[in-house]
Symmetry: C2
């Protein structure tokens, strides 16, 4: 199992994690300099090699860049790779979450996923359809528990993206995954099993099965509508509650 509270795990990755979260959290703002390599060596108890490798991890995501003599600075916000799963996770995790981001994600999903469902209805093969069906079956089985529901739910949505047979659409899976991770987080601290959403998922599956592109589009839209209402209802209460739990939400 391994609990690894904070120690031991990867050198560069650990530092990048902390620094990335700090940047996304606003500790270091665009055009600010991050602490110098030597200073970070001291703080993290690591060698310059490792700190520099951490820098490269963040540089690859568009977060920082370095100039000789001047130091390493945070790049302009527009340069950040916002669709990168890690960047998204850092944004969503930081204590003072941004409710607007949650809505932005929902709106983006409302654009992408219905279209994806329609494309899947047209392009599905026996194999890709089977993957969707498997995910759906697992969802039905886990419908009583929000926690157990999460995994097949993500799998369901990703399976649809894969069934589009479009590499770019498939790539949105990472986005959906990050988004659903948060929504689940919201849902779990709210009463009520996810059972009601099962038939809505079922409708999407059914439309894809009979190659009904328009129907799949509509069904996915309806599903996301329900999710959006759920989220909207819970964002306020989540906001109230975050004050006392800072960011202690354990990743299950």
């Amino acid at each position: 199992m391994m609990i690894r509270t904070s120690t031991a795990v990867g050198g560069a990755a650990r530092i990048a994690e902390k620094l990335g979260a700090a940047i996304l959290g606003g500790t270091y703002k665009p055009h600010d300099l991050v602490p110098g390599e030597i200073e970070l060596c001291r703080r993290f108890g690591a060698s310059r090699t490792v700190v520099r490798e951490a820098f490269k991890l963040l540089a690859a995501k568009g977060l920082i860049a370095s100039r000789k003599r001047a130091g390493t600075y945070v790049r302009a916000r527009e340069e950040w790779h916002m669709l990168d799963a890690d960047v998204l996770a850092w944004r969503l995790r930081d204590g003072e979450a941004e409710p607007k981001l949650v809505f932005d994600l929902m709106h983006a999903r409302a654009v992408i996923e219905p279209a994806a469902a329609a494309m899947a209805a047209r392009a599905r093969t026996p194999a890709t359809l089977a993957a969707i069906e498997r995910a759906f079956a697992d969802m039905e089985r886990a419908a009583h528990s929000a926690v157990l529901f999460a995994e097949p739910d993500v799998r369901f949505h990703k399976a649809i993206l894969t069934a589009t047979d479009n590499d770019v659409m498939t790539a949105f899976g990472a986005l959906i995954e990050a988004a659903l991770g948060i929504f689940v987080d919201v849902a779990t601290r709210h009463p009520g099993a996810p059972a009601p959403s099962v038939p809505l998922h079922g409708a999407v599956l059914e439309a894809i099965r009979r190659r009904d592109a328009e129907g799949a589009h509509r069904a996915m839209m309806a599903l996301l509508d329900r999710t959006a209402r759920n989220v909207e209802r819970n964002v306020a209460s989540g906001k109230r509650r975050k004050a006392r739990q800072t960011s202690a939400s354990a990743r299950v």
Copy 2:
């Protein structure tokens, strides 16, 4: 000592560039090991430090991972961050381009951009509208040359994404930019100025200006339709011609 055979520029970035292109180009396939650090030091005439930093750049994009003793290997294709601008560029650039990817990109644009135009029509502010107008004006001025047209064209589409006031939609800018880079490449080696597409862009702008969401959606759809037909017409000839120019396309 170091003889620096090639052109001196960038250390880690240069190596990451080559390796990334090689992975996306299929030289190293998923689950394959890439050459060891020492071997790459030899090949690139660099120190292990630099090679390792290059590895981190690629690791951050999901392309590779390392295990002790076993070496550094290419991760499964599903793990690659396909929406990353560099990854996309590497895919598009490699000599044996994938025509399917070009179509996938077009289809994805057809999903995202009309929706973005509609959102922009609703959410635009004087400032964001002005940015779109400026880009359009520059397009009109450059309508006679495909090369000059490219920059304001990209700016136009990105300005619309920004005007949505949705961080996730805005992030698609990198995607559009990479896609347009290729389409321009195709267009330039084909006769005819981009002038005909100007009024189509103008219609989008006009709809956004009068806050007509549905109209903006339709206009953007029409614009992309034309682009799609253009691309479709030119992919075949591009394919034929790539044999003799391998990958000598100079970046303008």
